[in-house]
Amino acid sequence: MQNVNWIALIVFALLFGFITWLGFAAAHWRRGDLNLLNEWGLGGRRFGTLITWFLIGGDLYTAYTFIAVPALAFGAGAVAFFAVPYTILIYPILLVVFPRLWSVCHKHGYITAADFVIGRFGNRWLALAIAVTGIVATMPYIALQLVGLEVVIGGLGLGGEGWLGEVSLIIAFIILAAFTYSSGLRAPAAIAIVKDILIYITALAACIVIPIEVGGFGKIFAAIPAQKLLLAVPHGQSTGAYSGYATLALGSALALFLYPHSITGILSASGRGAVRRNAALLPAYSFMLGLLTLLGLMAFALDIDKLPEFADGFKAFKSNFAVPALLLHTFPSWFVGVAFAAIGIGALVPAAIMSIAAANLFTRNIYREFFHRDASDKQESQMAKWMSLIVKFGALIFILLLPSQYAIQLQLLGGIWIIQTLPAVLIGAYTRWLNPWAQLVGWAAGIVSGTWMAAAMNFSATFPLQLGGWTFPGYSALYSLLLNLIVAVVLTPLFNQVSKPAQDQTAPADYQP
């Protein structure tokens, strides 16, 4: 294994020490009673436009994204760029749908998507399905953040999978668990400010320094073979890579804001104006993600995996080591420390928000709804705090004991599962025409068919749909969502015959400013 990079390690440790302090200090920021779930789990819905920008940016653009998307570019080329249209398309959706959801959730004190669903449709079993889907889809996502952290710890020379690497991971995890428990959502909100600034500095520095070193973007792209530079042009009776690319972008965009951690970030905003303004301001992160994706191509152009000093890193982490190796190759040690800290802290922020979001769901929609209907506010927030620990601990055990490949496959399935909540949450924000029982059957059809498609393709994201002699390779999440919607629409008139629709707790005016 490579030697420990002491200067980088010291800078990394100092920055981690700083955010640890910040995480605990955040408990006193915009002070509220942390014995209320609304305060612990949503920061009291007090974050203005700027803090919301940092929080959602830090929440959605995760450490794993910064490692895995360039790694895909490094290994597979142009297809990795689907992350750019994906993160373009999330913002029109954010601008149109989510101000409505923010308003109705604010008006009724809803903390989770499942809270909204039970209020809107009055069906606790549909709400349970939404809550369980959210929790199950989030857990592998948390595990992936720890994978991102593992890669940078390995890059510091602490041995990715050896005992030293594991001890470092456990220390980082304890820090994360402790400040989340004590400060709730305020901790990742405060830390996100530091993390996002560090990430912007790193991305800009890399995209200025590396092309200069190589001799211009032209030289970088000239070194990429043609089959990697662009998508393969489809031939025969197949839409080939084109439909794969477009459906991956669209399906991922539709799924993103259904994840509990996204909804938690949005609901913590102080007003619907803050949500709307962020639809125009957050694309700055998409631009940075595009630049970071180009880092993968730069690493490829530099033949970074052929350099002997990175042989061990690539052996341990495969192409996920491309970005750390590129940073180690390009920058002085102190800046490597800054950049790695940016990625490492970038793992903690989303992991904290994800665990809080999963805890909110469990507490509100499982514990309170099914086990302890008259739980006090204090019991509710205490249960959420414990649950946030359990969720994170599960992710840690997963990463330490099982190959990271399982976490990646489960995260792919998580995307397929979470998109099945779209009819209840996104369409539900506009109409309650779909019968909740029909939605539940549609949800099950989507989960089963999507899981089957992914498993049949050996956990590749695209499924070759055969229709009328043509093949349409596309994102299985989108195909299974179509089936879900068809089932829900067809069964709605039938279920309306047998079940009396429940009362809608929300009024049309609740969705408006």
Partner: protein
């Protein structure tokens, strides 16, 4: 906070939001190396440009429907 009432007919502005969808989902339009810009193939700079276009459109719709 948005206190102003929606102007009549202002919801047409939301149709502008279809532009990023059309511009990014029709892949054959931009899957080419030429016209390159500063050595960057069209595929890459076009999509980066669409990030800015998309942000500009959400900003326009935000102000128009405030």
């Amino acid at each position: 906070m948005d206190h102003k009432k929606h102007k009549p007919g202002s919801n047409w502005w939301f149709l502008l939001l279809l532009v990023p969808f059309v511009g990014t989902l029709w892949v054959p339009f931009y899957n080419s190396a030429e016209p390159a810009w500063a050595g960057i193939p069209f595929f890459y700079w076009y999509q980066m440009l669409m990030v800015l276009v998309g942000a500009g459109i959400t900003a326009i719709v935000y102000f128009a429907t405030e």
